[in-house]
Amino acid sequence: MSTKITPKQNYELTRQQIGYVDRRLATPEDYRRIGFKSGLEVHQQLATKEKLFCHCPCGVFQKNGDYDAEVIRHMRPAMSELGGYDGTALMEFKTRKNIIYRINNETACTYEVDDTPPFKINPEALEIALKISLLSKLNVVGEVHITRKQYLDGSIPTGFQRTAILGVNGHIQLRNKKVNLIQLSIEEDSCREIADVGHERWYKTDRLGMPLIETVTAPELVTPDELRETAEYIRFLNRSTGLVRTGMGAGREDVNVSCRGGSRVEIKGVAHNKWIPELSHNEAFRQWALLHIRKLLLERTKKEKWQVNHMELDPHEFKFTYLPLVECKEKQHKIIAINIPEFKGFLSHFTQPDQVFADEISQRLKVIACIEKPNMVHSEQEDLTISDHDFATIRTHLNTNNNDAQIIIWGPEEDMETAIETVVERCEMIFDGVPNETRKSFPDGTTIFERVLPGADRMYPDTDSCPIPLSNEYIEKLGKDLPQDISERIELLSKWAVPADAFHFILSKNIFPIIEEICERFKFDPKRVAIFFGHTYKNIVGKQKAHNDFNYRKLIGLFKFIREKGLHINIAKYLLPILFQHPSMEFNSMLTALKFKKRSLDELAAPIDFLAEKYRDIRKTDDKEEAANWIMGQLHKQAIGNIELRDLREIIDKRLQ
């Protein structure tokens, strides 16, 4: 066996060994091979005026530095209703963070900082959430019980989120699959993090307490694309009510992923559905890679036999040149070397694109032991920052074997016990497979460790509030006031022969009811109207910013004008840019701006023969098609708004015969 690991080569080799494929090249077979399994928790803010449990305004946001006061809190684990402590809770306690909340008087009151008990639940929020529960075919509960869900990261000053289940056991119908929904809950949104450095973490409290719903699917989605389709569907469903918030951060997904033999890992707060496929793909393969390391480790040793040893390094004994290590002398930080037996080749083992197993350790050091990066060097990194000589000395001190790996960490003395524990714990977890955790996502599709995954052990009834009964009459009344299913809308769009690429925009912007209204009131062809929105309107929205007064009602007015004026619908495309920028302008003036004149088919067809003559003088070929194109080009502008262009073309083609 060769003694030296070449990290890059090892990364490539292990990447191949586990059979990692680029997502663009991945087939359903690849996902079957690794047993890809996933589910979603879709979060959606509701468009209410006030927050869920107090009367602060919703949707007003502040910049990081815009605050009136700061409050400091520490979180301690509290027991769950069933008498247990939650794993995450205990981990968070280990980290001993000073949590600092920034409060702006406009958006937060004493409730947000937990100095006042909750007020009655916002009935507007409850009603929206119940409507969405009914749309999601959930069994709606008879009585709403507010529950406290512990979060010790500080994202909520109480240390728990007030949340309540509204319905269980629902489903949605995708194009080729029925997806089960486990539950839907209404909850208060958390703080937004400002910074997290060492033992301090800052939050702002503007978003805190805004009403949010969470729709949880069963873990039965077996490809990244299915996951994305589900996420889109639920987002469309939520938006179909017209009662939810849109825009940055208004909809966020937590993506639960595992591979065969792996564990549930939650990728938190994915803001864009288009990121989901890459993230879930990489996560499943990360787990597959960890299981590969496990297999190799078990071939070498047993958990019972495996023993890590560590020692403190005296900086005077070594000629460190790596700045963080050099600085330890001055900062009086400790330097610890740890020997990880039988781990050779694992620290540089592929886990995700551009990440190796050593990164998993480093990320935990940051989160659990509060040691900022760079926080370790190890024996399998490309740019070894410790000289071979020093490393050899360290190996001798630690009494290492050839098959071992070494990690060197440093930091304040009081953090080192937790730091050593963190390193050892993460390495030891390899024996058991993939640890349950939540991970933070990046746009490039990779993730980093965030926290240990909390369990059901963190639930506690909210003793500050009473159960809220939901009468049959109330639920029935809400049931009568619902938009149609997204699956029905998709079916109708297909039936109308609207191109599939137009669906997404129509459903995501909840334009479907507008299309229906236009077609019903003014008797237009739904396909044409849908294409107008799904292509033409989408195009302009993507390129320009609308005038503040512009809205969907204006577009309905546009079609009303076209119908009343007896114009052809194809003029809508030309009126739109004017309406978009000048929504208060009269439609007749817009026509004037377009130099529009009312003409009959006969009038428009009259100059064809003359134009055909003219074309003969300037023609380059005898191709009739080209002639027709040229004539069409001459008449096109006058025809818009008067007739179907195809009809004119037919006449031209005929005359040229």
Binding site: D68, R76, V141, G142, V144, P157, M459, P461, T463, N472
Partner: protein
Amino acid sequence: MEDLFQGYKGDALETLKKYNVRVWGKTHIVTTRGEFDGTILPRAENDDDQHIVLKIDTGYNIGINITTIKEMKETGYKKANYKVPEKEFPYTEGQPKVKLFGTGGTIASRLDYRTGAVIPAFSPGELYGSVPELADICNLTTEKVFAVFSENMGPQQYISLAIAIGKEIENGVDGIIIAHGTDTLHHTAAALTYMVQNLPVPVVLVGSQRSSDRPSSDAALNLMHSAIAAGHGDIAEVMVCMFGPTSDEYGFLHRGTRVRKMHSSYRSTFRTLGDTPLATVTRKGVKAIKKRYNHRRKDKDVKILPYFEEKVTIVYYYPNMQPDVIDALVDCGYKGIIIAGTGLGHVNKPVYPALKRAVEKGVHIFMTVQTLWGYTHMFVYDTGRDLMAMGVVPLDNMLPEAAYIKLGWALGQTNDRQEVIDIMETPINDETTKREPYNGYLLYQGGVPEVEQFVKNFRK
């Protein structure tokens, strides 16, 4: 016998019986709103009899309306055991001996299925289980003297506590902590100040504004602060130890007679009125603010004066108060009345005859101010002079609650008019002070730029 249907009554109880399903039974329920699975939980007694509470697999609780139930079947049974992990409190050589008396209240509470709210719970092991840091501060022993919410504390409890404190001091304890609900913490603090005099060790009353079953509870830090004040502090007085600011930063030690709960829910609710607090306390130690206080001593010469007359009341004066209010109190046999008067200590003329009659019947009437800050000054206006002429005695800047407790304590010892007045007018520990320092009244108003600046930069 075990209650199989804990908290259920009426129709809901009948439904459980009909389908033969118990509390803690894992149950499958078919309803007109669909199917539900979970564990039946106890129901709060005050909630209606139309719903059954279910904990579903994801840990959440929901309610099922019994009129929607078509079928119910118990498929298993698992009773939850809600218990704070108990660990024996370790003994460390050289650390001070501190005794903690438990009376109930938010500081040591847990979920109560009967009411659905929190109830007091307390044991030394539980306390150590949840706040292990206490072991680094002192050698703690605990005793549960009662388990009542603070609003249920009264004369009997004050007397038992005073006697218990005396015994502990006799046993050579280095400090005493009293865990107490916060609502009437300042009443108890005043009572103990009068009943336990010449203290050689600190007596620290502590509570919490957020129950200890919450991750952001102030209970743990308050307990640590009180243990430091009781075990290591030099101030041997009856004190209240609660959060200084709302942040987890430091605590205040307030003199038992000058402290008052000033906000219904804030953590920093306790304030010293008309003076500064005695000291601040952090995990590093006690730092005195006041220069003059009673120092810790080695002797055991404490005086226990456990007296209380219950027929004492506070009358909070309001415009157009009718004399019959006072008459009724006299007719009911009240022996002492503290008036919380307006301004400098006033009530309106129509009440005069009733007050006069009361004094003539031997009722002891004293005047305090409902402004809370400031002194009675009954010579300033005729009203005040008239009242004094009728025998109403002003109590300077004594807080109405501290006055009420003191009058009960005084009347427990004597009914002689002059003796009662003497007791009331002789301060035991600053219930009246000769001076009101300029920084004894600081109520800043928001909105003023310099106040906003102060809040932003300093008031965490």
